[in-house]
Symmetry: C3
Subunit: 167 residues, 3 copies
């Protein structure tokens, strides 16, 4: 009983408000979008039968974001989500030998504060709280809590080696 | 001589079986999908003239997965692929000074076992074997073999620093 | 005053040249594509009013690449961009307490040399120079300069632990 909804801004130069009406038809009371929530392009939302999703006023989602909610995802006001940010408040269970798809989920609520910026390809996992005013760098996996007003980046210890070329 | 095929599940609430018929028209015998293989949304497959791709029964692909096959990619039964998982059994060669696109590929077969769960944005590179029952965390690049029944995550040593704000 | 343009190659087996005509209508002189630039599927370009973007002859973009330009992005000849490569020559400012979206951007030009290969999900950040002939591995975030003829990979120190299962 999941839903997948695609929102398209046909007029690219305008950021259109996502209309709450679309949601309330399917799951009245469980999806709550503030004023002036917008998405640049396609955004994917999936909610399980017990899932509730709240997005505060003025929050913006860049291309390809995906919010997946079995329990509760709460996103504050005036956040900026970069491209392909994914948020999952649940994991597959995998502690028995049976098929993964039959083992169900472990869920834990996610809370993202006001005025947060999540960079490209950030993944937010179940049970995480990200405080107000945080900046999360590109490609970071957030698996534990982030205190308010923090900047978080991946380890940038890249391996750099010369390429020896021959002809 | 590559192909790019897009499969769309128009009815989102149902997971439709990918029909083998589509493939066999182009490359009879080289793409083999088991029963009840499904894809939530768009899935991208590319096969070179020598490529062979096998996907076992009951394996599921979330949005935006991409399988790219010059030699052989074998995926087991009942796997769950997260969003944007990409699998490449080949790399560009870059050992000479000529144009990259003219240097061709190095290929090595990939094998992913049964009942594996690959998280969002996982990238699986050439020559890798992932054993049965593995769980690969979000954003991991798999460049070497993973023994069966392993859970694999990126280093989660994030750099977290306070933001000092002024008005 | 940004633009979002989508290019689709309807004929997948042919790599179609991106026509410069499309761009010059909107921002004459600010987007410059060389000969035989191609994109496999959708490519997203965003330019601010001061942005300039140059792409050299023969450069190829795989599915889902995104170039975002407030100042200047210069990409050399014969590069290969993997899937979902994103390039941003600007960051949101976040040094005051006001709303993120009102604080504007910090921009710094990006230069990517000739004959570079950027892997899947690579993110290139503002101010970076990548020398000629570089190879950047999947999921790498490039936040500082890369000397010419380098191969760059993420730390591949994965955490691998056994899964203990019970029935």
């Amino acid at each position: 009983m999941n839903i997948l909804i695609r929102l398209r801004n046909l007029k690219n130069s305008l950021q259109t408000k996502i209309r709450i009406a679309i949601w309330s038809l399917e799951y009245p009371g469980r999806v709550e979008f503030g004023d002036c929530v917008s998405s640049r392009d396609v955004m994917r939302l999936r909610l399980g039968p017990e899932g509730s999703l709240v997005v505060g006023d003025g929050t913006f989602f860049n291309n390809g974001c995906s919010l997946n909610c079995m329990k509760r995802i709460e996103i504050g006001r005036n956040c900026l989500f970069g491209e392909n940010v994914t948020v999952y408040d649940h994991n597959h269970r995998f502690s028995s030998f049976s098929r993964l798809a039959e083992q169900g989920y472990k869920s834990a609520s996610i809370k993202i504060g006001d005025n947060c910026w999540l960079g490209t390809n950030v993944v937010v996992l179940k049970g995480v709280t990200i405080g107000d005013g945080c900046v999360v760098g590109a490609n970071v996996v957030v698996a534990s809590d982030i205190p308010p007003d923090s900047i978080v980046t991946q380890s940038r210890d890249l391996n750099i080696a010369p390429i020896i070329r021959t002809n």
